[in-house]
Amino acid sequence: MHPISQPVVKKDHTEKMAGSAEYVGDFYSTDMLHARFVRSPHPHARILEICYPELPEGYCSVDHRDVLGENIVHVVEDDSPVFEVDEVFYVGDPVAMIIGPDPQRVKALAAATEVRYEVLSAILDIDDSDTVFFDYHYGRGDCEDAFSEADKVYEEQFSTGYQEQAYLETQGMSARYEDGLLTVHGSLQCPYYVHGAIAKATGLPKGSVRVIQDYTGGGFGGKEAYPSFLAAQLGVAAMKVPGKDVRVVYDRREDMEFTSKRHPSRCTYRAAVKDGRVTALEIDVRFNSGAFTTLSPVVLQRGIIAAPGVYHVPSLKVRGRGLRTHTVPTGAYRGFGAPQTFFAIERLMDHIAADLGQDPLDFKLAHAAKKGDPTSTSGIYHYEVPLPEMVDKVCEMSDYRAKRAAYAKEQGRRYRNGIGIALWFHGCGFTGSGERDFIKAVVGLHKHADGTVEVLACNSDIGQGIKTTFSKVVAAELGIPYDQVSYGNPDTSRVPDSGPTVASRSLMTVGELLRRAAARLREEWVDGQEQSVEEHYHEPDFMLPFSLEDFSGDAYPTYAWGVSAIELRYDSLTGANDIVGCWSSFDVGTPIDLAIVTGQMEGGVLQGLGYSSMEQMATDANGRIRNNSYSDYIIPTSADVGELAVSMHVVEFPFGPYGAKGAGELPLVGIAPAFVEAAEQALGARGINHIPLKAEEALEYLGAAQKEAHR
């Protein structure tokens, strides 16, 4: 392994371990005002009137009439308001806010605010949706031909549920308007997204808005878009009470019910098979976007690009729709649309293999793309596709093949084992030409006279270790000690826009810019002098230009790869399972810090395991999230996996720093299909095409299998 992979003490280790790191909820000022939302209790209604209770001195209301700029929170499109005006579109949709010094009183006043509504009919299920936010199509080859010539055609439907990011720190933001400057700080992933959203909502020029990321207790995508909403709302509020801090920190229920989570999906896949090979796929992907578009277009794009999985299938016809419902807007969560479609394609391949009497793993390997093959969007896999080696490694770690054969035979009376394996990728960085056309990242390095170097970028450390890895890259390139490089929490008044902390891009893309900046600084280095360098993004010139019109070209410069085998042991008396083990091989290029990467891989795997089964999020008759606390929304702990083993495979990416690719999202993406494949074997069931798979359902499958065996 590369020497840079050698673990170091994380940059934020001491303050986090000592408890001195300040999160937004930790700031204290004597004249702090607290904010509480007045939210819609209806999934869809017309607002007739807002009646505030008499507000004591020092308290005030905030609603759309206070929005001095545009009543829009800019995400990708511009359809979400800061505060609703005359209609509400989901339970929790913000109508107004009460602010004041005593949080209990603020809460009571918000509760006492009466909004009169005329209730309108609501659409809660995507099957009933009459609004298609996005409708994408792409394809290649001749599907019609392939289907008409097929030996056999398979058609299956798949569905996946919500998933809550469950970051430890809930959403929180604080704003203060003073001397013409609006300063906002809080828990967030993307300082410049927030910056742009505030400027738009307040009408302030960009130079009058300052955004600072506080220490952030996890994001997983949940703090990509949502903080823009909170910041716009609080910014509007702060301008009403100049000179005072206005803050909101969500409680867990509010956070779970009203902030974005993973898109539930329904997919239909049709496959044409000829001579034992899949010759064509016709794929229809539908995501529940909730009430507003927010990040749905980009989530959906990634989802449909990944829809055929790692396989080379000659003919493709793919459609993807983001549909509106009167439910909480869904958004970014680690994997960003890909876990849904990888679930579908992996399950489908397993089922086809089983039907053809083939070993599912061999069947998948026979279809896997290789270097030089076209991608789903007629781009090219420019670099080695290391799946065969990774599969070998995982088979060796897990004893997959022997177990798969053994568990196909008669099993013990009470416990039934099963093992499954899945193959996947994660496209590294933004989809398409986003980096080149929209983000245009800029980074800087500032060298002080004493030889210490400061990283100037706006990527936020949300626990993933970017402070550490950026610093390592810069130190290595400069040939100076790691301790001599620093990277603080980004502050837009001091650092350039290096783009958002999303899409597994920060280290690969921004880290490479920093490496280049460091290389320049090394050349220009003069002892004892203060020096600065800046570096701008250029798209690597090997890429086939991507067109979003017809989804053609290189959607990603390169791919991170994942293979996981999961073994389950089901209890036929209770339907509960033990996760005996999860063995994975991941290729994220060069790990810039092996300890950090291993932690990321293990954590992502665990989130994938939760997504597969225990993380169940139901809604009530109004589409409101019912599982709104940690006693109702169960996420896995380290006690839930017997053996959690991760092995790193390294295919270096020449355009990433020291060969690094994207790492953050990868490990979660393909866990669910491996889990369900194992469950199918253990339960003696076929065609389990949904997640989360509940213990109750498992017990039913076991009962059915037992009856079958008796006959």
């Binding site: 036929s572 008396l573 169960i634 702990t637 006690a639 839930d640 109750e696 017990l699």
Partner: protein, 272 residues
């Protein structure tokens, strides 16, 4: 207004409770989850008299201040209790939570309470003036309701050791740690000279109070193994009829099915 007391003797605590309605606070692991609590607390952690564990010839007595961690560390703690306690929550909770709190909380999902039900434990209640022992089956009046008077404290739990040998404990949670039971089960059966000498099943998390039906268990007690085998279906049918599961995050049907599966498996394993 005083909103908390931290007495250092049992007499002082009971004296406070004789004069004012207070909420006893042991480990606080049930209480701290409860957001809306109006009344002041009386903290029990400073009361040395409640911290004893006594291992008698025929009973194991757990003081109300004994934490789960202490129970797990004690050499005389019955295996059944240890097995159940080891699956409660996680180490941080077990460092402070108590068996008495689990029982006094009166949730049908309490794993410690379940064991005590199966073992026919007795609850020791003391007030400044009175002392009494209540069989656990009579301690509850419903979900969250007990016969404890406001001036009384649970001071100890007495667990008879006689029937604990042939036990089985099962817990179905939503995950492996930090999980409240969705269904829990204790089975106790002793066979002496080919005769069922004792049988007690108890099911947690299915009804408002832990389900324990001595009258049903009596159907097999005193029977030879052979005869008990013959009566097993009737016995299980009686449980099927008796259990009326509550609805919750998991369906009533699932809860019931799991109870019956566990009962059947236990009975058939023991009777062969």
């Amino acid at each position: 207004m005083v909103d908390r007391y931290a007495p250092t003797s049992l007499a002082a605590a009971l004296d406070l409770m004789a004069h004012e309605e207070l909420v006893p606070y042991a480990g606080g692991t049930d209480l701290m989850v409860d957001e809306a609590l109006g009344r002041p607390f009386v903290f029990l952690h400073g009361i040395e008299e409640l911290k004893g564990i006594t291992d008698n010839e025929d009973s194991f007595i757990v003081g109300a201040g004994v934490t789960y961690r202490e129970l797990l560390a004690h050499p005389a703690t019955p295996e059944l209790l240890k097995e159940a306690v080891a699956q409660i929550a996680a180490p941080a909770i077990r460092n402070t939570a108590t068996l008495a709190g689990n029982i006094a909380n009166a949730s049908p999902k309490g794993d410690g309470a379940l064991v005590c039900f199966a073992a026919d434990a007795e609850i020791v209640l003391r007030s400044a003036e009175t002392a009494r022992r209540v069989p656990i089956a009579s301690f509850y009046e419903g979900r969250g309701k007990t016969v404890r008077r406001p001036d009384e404290l649970v001071t100890a739990v007495i667990i008879p050791k006689k029937h604990l040998a042939g036990y089985r404990f099962e817990k179905v949670g939503a995950r492996k740690a930090l999980a409240i039971s969705r269904v829990s089960f204790v089975g106790l059966m002793t066979i002496e000279e080919s005769v069922v000498a004792h049988l007690a099943l108890a099911f947690g998390a299915v009804e408002d109070v832990v389900a324990r039906r001595p009258a049903i268990d009596a159907m097999l007690i005193g029977k030879t193994i052979e005869a008990a085998r013959g009566a097993a279906e009737e016995y299980l049918a009686a449980w099927d009829e008796a259990i009326q599961p509550i609805r919750g995050r998991v369906s009533a049907e699932y809860r019931k099915q799991v109870c019956l599966n566990l009962a059947r498996d236990f009975i058939t394993c023991r009777l062969g």
